[in-house]
């Protein structure tokens, strides 16, 4: 992909002898660093994989982001490095403990222990009209989660979604699972781009969408 499609604050840097996708910030999970830049491993991050695969994410840097399924903060820490205010929703206490460590030194990363299926439980904290929702919840009902959270997204905002086939149905053919998820998404969003993330994440579909 051409580097001009990367948001400001995401660069290809020479780290440990390799050219790696990277953001600038305090290290989080033992990733290699050089000159304050931290390598962003597309194998450990669906959004990182989407950048490597050249998705047109619409991100330019500095935007307000709602991140659903933050886990221990691997990806959302990179997001907070290049974006503006970043709300990180995660519902499992254990990964949230590590998320706190990633959020502490990032003054615009806001960790929230919440269930993404219940946006009412954080709508009093997360602001309206965020520029992007990044979703990686890997749980049943991924399209429903995206639809319910559409209320936070600006009209011209972007949904950057990773759908994990096995979370919906471990036995079905992934393409059938993806088709069903996209059908459900179309009720709320216009789909701009979809591609399999298999090079980095087996049986995952990457989706870029915008509110209808």
């Amino acid at each position: 992909m051409s580097d001009s499609d990367l948001p400001a604050g995401v660069e290809r840097r020479e780290i440990a002898g390799e050219t790696r996708l990277a953001t600038r910030g305090p290290p989080v999970y033992g990733e290699p660093t050089a000159d304050g830049w931290r390598a962003w491993d597309p194998r450990r991050s669906k959004l990182g994989g989407m950048f490597e695969l050249g998705f047109v994410t619409g991100l330019t840097g500095g935007e307000t982001v709602l991140y659903l399924g933050a886990a221990s903060g691997t990806t959302v820490s990179h997001v907070a490095d290049f974006a503006g205010p970043t709300y990180a929703v995660e519902f499992a206490p254990r990964p949230a403990r590590d998320l706190l460590d990633a959020a502490r030194p990032r003054d615009r990363l806001f960790p929230l222990l919440k269930d993404a299926r219940k946006p009412e439980s954080y709508a009093h904290v997360v602001e309206v009209d965020v520029d992007a929702i990044v979703q990686d919840v890997a749980t049943r009902g991924q399209a429903t989660v995206a639809a319910r959270n559409a209320r936070f997204l600006a009209d011209d905002g972007r949904l950057l979604l990773a759908v994990k086939a096995r979370s919906e149905d471990a036995t079905a053919d992934p393409s059938d699972v993806f088709d069903a998820a996209l059908d459900e998404l179309r009720e709320t969003y216009e789909i701009l781009e979809t591609r399999r993330l298999d090079r980095y994440h087996e049986d995952h579909l990457g989706v870029v969408a915008t509110p209808q």
Partner: protein
């Protein structure tokens, strides 16, 4: 924007830190709004930057507290519940024996056990001694009811504490494994060979001191995959199950995410073990004919 808009935000009322954190953790709103602007307009924050600084501080604090609370609440509580359940059951059975023996000396043909105690508890006592014997039987049924209520609590909370482990083992066995290990963390850190014999410490000790063969399984024996597998395959069934239960505990401890493949894999592995048994018993029947 009106004041009532700001009222719906986490920062409403310019409350003390503890209250703000409580609102972040437990508050609700139907719709998001432009909270930064509302917070500035309502005087909560001097500027958007000031607002975000405070939001950062308070979300860190609120999330840290909720995480701690949940962690304290979960696996250790489950251990208390499972131990209390076992105590209730053991005590109910012991006391039922005493109550039955006593009732036998006062009434005609009472039944033994908890059911017997229930019948005695329903009787109209006559005189002080009968009153005490009937009342004792009533305590037995009360303990038995408490045991059942504790079992229901385990069914409810085990899947929250350890979703994959509870799905694979069933709520009660999951709780017992966690209790035997002393917590989800220590269960997640045990090698699967240890998980396989958890609950068989006596047998293991006898083995280590050279007095007995090594135990093939501990508490996981109660799982259908082990118990309902023919004796010569139980060792491999127990090993396979212990391996997957250990992985389930690790996923629960480190990520909390449901991992469907884990459940598929153990189902397939067990199907293979059982298919082998069937093939062999078919083969044996033919050979004998």
């Amino acid at each position: 924007m009106t004041d009532t808009d700001a009222e719906a935000g986490w920062f409403a009322g310019r409350a003390a830190v503890a209250a703000a954190r409580d609102r972040i953790a437990n508050g609700e709103a139907d719709q998001p709004r432009d909270w930064p602007a509302l917070a500035v307009a309502s005087g909560f924050a001097d500027s958007t930057d000031d607002y975000y600084d405070r939001l950062h501080e308070e979300t860190l604090g609120a999330t840290r507290e909720t995480v701690r609370e949940r962690e304290r609440a979960d696996d250790q509580q489950l251990i208390h519940v499972v131990r209390a359940m076992d105590d209730c059951e053991r005590t109910a059975n012991e006391l039922a024996e005493r109550a039955a023996e006593w009732a036998g000396s006062l009434f005609d043909d009472p039944e033994p056990g908890i059911e017997g105690a229930r019948a005695v508890a329903d009787r109209e006592p006559d005189g002080e001694l009968e009153r005490r014997a009937v009342s004792l039987a009533g305590r037995v049924t009360g303990l038995a009811a408490e045991r059942d209520a504790l079992a229901e609590t385990i069914d409810r909370i085990a899947p929250a504490v350890a979703p994959n482990l509870a799905e694979m083992a069933g709520a009660e066995l999951a709780a017992r494994l966690i209790a035997l290990a002393g917590g989800l963390e220590s269960l997640a850190k045990k090698p699967s060979g240890t998980v396989q014999v958890l609950g068989a410490e006596d047998a293991l000790f006898a083995h280590l001191s050279g007095r007995a063969p090594s135990p093939k399984h501990g508490i996981i024996y109660t799982h259908d995959y082990v118990r309902n597998t023919r004796p010569e395959d139980r060792g491999s069934a127990a090993r396979a199950l212990a391996g997957k239960l250990t992985l389930a505990a690790r996923v629960d401890y480190y990520s909390g995410e449901r991992r469907a493949t884990l459940h598929e894999e153990i189902r397939e592995r067990m199907a293979t073990i059982r298919a082998r048994a069937e093939a062999e018993s078919d083969g044996g029947a033919e050979g004998g004919a």
